[in-house]
């Protein structure tokens, strides 16, 4: 019904505008073209002036209105060490472009208004002015040079891989249609090798179980990381392109099948810290579930999120994982509670190449029986 009404409205408006168009054409004929043009120029000139004023007010007003919902503003400071640097780069660029934006828009519309066609006015004949051309070539060039240099400086630092001898936590995220599969290296600190040919329902990442580095690898359902420690995310994809996107950490990198990528970052705020920041703003006092009056306020249920930012098919919009940043102690505790995937899901099943065979360090009584299975 609303739709029909909307369509009817649009048709009606069209008819009205057509009729007005016809009438004004007739009026123009009666009044004389020249005079009609004068009146129209005058009116349009004032419209243009009103427009630019209203437009700039709308731009600034809406920005202020949405400030606390945008990353980098209000409570949404970056939650990673490099993020605040990118945010300030954004703001510096916003400062320069904002000045240019306001000045050029005002000049454009003000000149249009000021020099609206009037009877008897002669237009100036100024075909060119090389001095002006030089000025407005050099000034943007200087500003661009400044932005390029500060941008590239930040870029090369942010994108640098782990240096030799640096301490870091390595995790792996694998995108597939339509979720993320996470892997932690376990106590040995090393991720085991993978082969896409080995992938099946029990072995979602195609880990090679003959590689003992795989035995202690963890497959948690959320990303948990210690605050203040360097993290290297190894990013891979199983089927099509995905993109590992952590908005709060200003982190984004494509996941490419057959070509692991990486991103190095340092979380700087725990989830709890971030929630505390949010709690200071009234926008986040609202109920998280407006239908349920007993639900927690928004700030209390806040979580960092992992999303997909490269179109990967019909479920692209749903690849969510929660990211929790915790203190070093909590992290160690959480890590110790995780069970290696091999031990819980693979060991002594038909998937296990060492089915029935004792692994080094394994006590004899844990082995099921002594049948003569051999590694495949």
């Amino acid at each position: 019904m609303t739709t029909l009404l909307a369509i009817a409205c649009i048709l009606l408006i069209t008819v009205v505008v057509v009729q007005i168009g016809k009438v004004t054409e007739l009026a123009t004929k009666l009044r004389g073209e020249e005079e009609a043009e004068q009146i129209s120029n005058k009116r349009t000139g004032s419209f243009l002036l009103v427009f630019v004023f209203a437009f700039l007010v709308f731009c600034v007003g809406s920005a202020i209105y949405y400030k606390n919902w945008m990353l980098g503003y209000g409570p949404h400071e970056a939650a990673s060490a490099h993020g605040s640097r990118l945010d300030s780069l954004f703001n510096v660029t916003l400062f320069f472009t904002g000045i240019v934006f306001v000045i050029t828009q005002i000049l454009l519309f003000y000149f249009a208004y000021k020099f609206r066609g009037e009877k008897g006015r002669k237009a100036l004949y100024i075909p060119h002015d090389n001095r002006l051309e030089v000025i407005w070539t050099v000034v943007p060039a200087v500003v661009m040079t400044f932005l390029v240099i500060s941008g590239l400086d930040a870029w090369n630092e942010v994108m640098a891989d782990i240096q030799e001898g640096e301490e870091y936590v390595e995790i792996e995220a694998t995108g597939y249609q339509f979720a993320w599969h996470l892997r932690y290296p376990g106590p040995d600190g090393k991720l085991g090798t993978r082969n896409f040919k080995l992938i099946n329902a029990a072995n979602p990442l195609g880990q090679d179980w003959t590689d003992e580095k795989n035995w202690d690898d963890l497959h948690p359902s959320e990303i948990v990381l210690p605050v203040g420690k360097k993290v290297r995310v190894r990013i891979t994809a199983r089927d099509v392109l995905h993109n590992f996107f952590l908005p709060h950490f200003r982190l984004k990198m494509d996941a490419v099948p057959g070509m692991p990528t990486y991103f190095v970052f340092t979380p700087s705020k725990t989830t709890e810290d971030y929630r505390r920041e949010l709690s200071k703003y009234k926008e986040y006092q609202a109920l998280s579930d407006p239908a349920d009056p007993n639900s927690e306020p928004l700030w209390k249920v806040f979580n960092y999120e992992l999303a997909c930012a490269e179109l990967c098919g019909k479920g692209h919009y749903s690849m969510r994982r929660v990211v929790r940043i915790v203190s070093e102690e909590e992290y160690t505790k959480w890590l110790s509670e995780q069970k290696p995937y091999y031990m819980t899901s693979i060991r002594n099943t038909i998937e296990d190449p060492f089915n029935g065979i004792l692994l080094p360090g394994e006590a004899a009584e844990t082995a099921p029986d002594t049948s003569k299975t051999t590694p495949q």
Binding site: V18, T44, F96, K122, A141, L147, L241, G258
Partner: protein, 622 residues
């Protein structure tokens, strides 16, 4: 309007026919074309026409058809984004199985596959069929022969083929909309592996095959057109028309054609490799893939290679779209301000600079694609350098209207609107071109806002300016000015209402190409804004209905053109008779004596290009 030309008739040297007769060039055209075999019947006149003016109209009207289709698609997915809980059951008769109706509630939901198909088709159609063919195809065809003083294109036959290849491309794409597996749904950039694997997306089956065939036809069309435009500009300029006397429109079309000729073949090579991967089992773009419960045999390829090939076209493509609009706006602003375009040579050099730079910035679309971060350094530098010639153009347009006596025709208004949009959209490019900022902004709504404003809305504004301005040249009648102004204000305000808020979505990190936002707490706070955007989109579409009604009504009922130069413009197309014949000028071809922008010179309202220089008079175009 019809003021200038009527008034300045007194001196004999301003009589167009006499000037053409006295100085013009006689190519004996009409002796060779006795009886005009090219336009002897209905088919050769209106369908398989070889006349550039008819082909221009064919491009324009086909482009408008596709604009309506592409626009309607955007309305459907905007309804989904703005009102995800509202029932779309009423679309069931049109969309069929892509609307699933909940048996209990009767709620109709758009299938996510089809949402992505709509997004993909919207992009493909608007970028290629509307803003490339509909814009450059229309105005290059109409204006190049008329403004350089040629009888027609260098090869009218290839020109006709160019249109019909475009038509076939459209036909194939149109068919793909009705496949049971749906049209292609992997984004207009068609990145493999998604576009290569039917297992990964149903649209990547038959839909993608037709998409590839369609766009291959399309590239043939662009190349045939481009060869023609370049040859015509270089070889068929009339006597006296040196390159520095070309109107900026022609410079823009010329550089556009060169860009197309150099970049589209690279796209096709990418398409062919993709076709091989899809059908012959090669692995150019595929490597180590497990999909649909199966490990594929493809190893050793790189999906990133496709991205390089695609964006090697893809980036020049945005200039292929915007340069013609820039050319049109330069001409329109100058004519209606009654002032020469400011800094003509700076404008030409900035077109050339933009054209050149457009070939060495393509990887700025790929900062976060996994290419070596070191490579990005070069692309950041060249990308941000483009801001300099762009800024030069903006300042020159603003200075062009400074001190003018502006007639606010609909064309001039869209010209001003174009500059405003180009500023707003161009400035956000400075954020995105800087790789460090792009880490956060890449593939968010910030990008959507940026490119829609700078190459979507701005290019459309250029197109509208051109249509309103040259409509009398195409159809011998004027479009209705009041409806034109309503169209302008509705579109201007509406377009900003749609795309300005998207910057905030992007700054909040909301990714583009999301079917719903409520899976994520981070992205789900903007339902009011999304509703606002959707309502604005519907209003803007309604404004385009007014344009279309105005367009077709004016073809038959518009105010008739009574003088051959209604705007008092200097360029050659206004020296042709009101009813332009095949061959454009009934007798000799006019000779050009001066540059195209002598407006207000020496107290004259305007001095046509065919008026000889007075003794000792300095000409800007030499």
């Amino acid at each position: 309007m019809a003021t200038a030309a009527n008034k300045s008739t007194a001196p004999a040297q301003h009589d167009v026919d006499l000037l053409i007769e006295e100085y013009g060039y006689d190519d004996h055209f009409h002796e060779h074309h006795e009886g005009d075999k090219y336009q002897s019947n209905f088919f050769t006149t209106y369908i398989f026409s070889q006349d550039h003016k008819m082909i221009a109209r064919q491009f324009l009207i086909t482009g408008m058809f596709w604009a309506v289709i592409g626009g309607l698609m955007s309305l459907v997915f905007r309804l989904q984004l703005g009102f995800p809980e509202e029932s779309l059951a009423w679309l069931k008769p049109v969309l069929g199985k892509w609307i699933t109706i909940n048996a209990d509630t009767g709620l109709g939901t758009l299938a996510p596959e089809f949402y992505y198909a709509l997004v993909t088709m919207h992009g493909t159609i608007i970028v290629f069929f509307v803003l490339t063919a509909g814009l450059s195809g229309t105005f290059s065809n109409l204006l190049i022969p008329l403004q350089v003083g040629a009888r027609d294109m260098a090869s009218p036959f290839l020109n006709m083929l160019s249109y019909w290849f475009f038509f076939m491309a459209g036909l194939v794409m149109f068919f793909s909309l009705f496949l049971s597996t749906g049209p292609f749904a992997g984004g207009w950039t068609a990145y493999p592996p998604l576009s290569a694997l039917p297992q990964a997306s149903s649209g990547s089956a038959g839909g993608m095959t037709l998409w590839l065939i369609s766009l291959t036809f399309f590239v043939v069309s662009v190349l045939l057109g481009g060869v023609n435009y370049i040859t015509t500009v270089l070889n068929l300029r009339t006597k006296g028309m040196n390159m520095w006397r070309l109107p900026l429109t022609i410079w823009a079309f010329f550089v556009t054609a060169v860009l197309g000729l150099l970049s589209f073949p690279v796209l096709v090579s990418g398409f062919f490799l993709l076709i091989f991967d899809r059908t012959l089992g090669t692995s150019f773009f595929l490597n180590e893939i497990f999909v649909g419960g199966q490990a594929l045999d493809h190893v050793g390829g790189s999906p990133i290679l496709y991205q390089h090939l695609f964006w090697f076209l893809g980036h020049p493509e945005v200039y292929i779209i915007i340069l013609p609009a820039m050319g049109i706006v330069s001409e329109v602003l100058s004519v209606h301000s009654r002032k020469p375009i400011f800094g003509y040579k700076a404008m030409v050099f900035s077109i050339l600079a933009i054209g050149f730079l457009s070939f060495i910035v393509w990887a700025h679309h790929m900062f976060m694609s996994g290419v070596n971060p070191f490579i990005s350094n070069f692309f950041v530098v060249f990308t941000l350098i483009i801001a300099v010639p762009s800024a030069v153009k903006v300042f020159n347009w603003i200075t062009t209207i400074y001190g003018g006596n502006i007639r606010f025709t609909s064309a001039a208004l869209f010209g001003v609107g174009f500059v405003s949009m180009f500023i707003s959209g161009g400035l956000t490019g400075i954020f995105l071109g800087n790789s460090a900022i792009d880490i956060q902004m890449h593939d968010t709504y910030f990008v959507v806002a940026h490119f829609h404003i700078v190459m979507g809305v701005a290019a459309f504004f250029g197109m509208f300016a051109g249509v309103y301005h040259w409509f009398p040249k195409m159809f011998g009648r004027f479009m209705n000015e009041t409806m034109g102004k309503v169209h302008f204000w509705g579109t201007m305000i509406g377009a900003y209402a749609i795309f300005w808020p998207m910057h905030y979505l992007g700054m909040a990190g909301v990714p583009r190409r999301y079917y719903r936002f409520d899976n994520f707490d981070t992205f789900s706070h903007f339902s009011a804004m999304n509703q606002f955007i959707t309502v604005a989109a519907i209003l803007v579409f309604a404004m385009q209905i007014i344009f279309i009604v105005n367009f077709f009504r004016s073809i038959w009922f518009g105010k008739k053109m009574t003088s051959r130069n209604p705007y008092g413009a200097n360029t050659l197309e206004w020296t042709t008779p009101i009813d332009v014949p095949h061959g454009n000028w009934p007798g000799k071809i006019p000779a050009v004596q001066r540059w195209a922008y002598d407006y207000g010179k020496g107290g004259e309202e305007n001095v046509s290009q065919i008026v000889p220089l007075a003794e000792g008079e300095h000409d800007q175009g030499h």
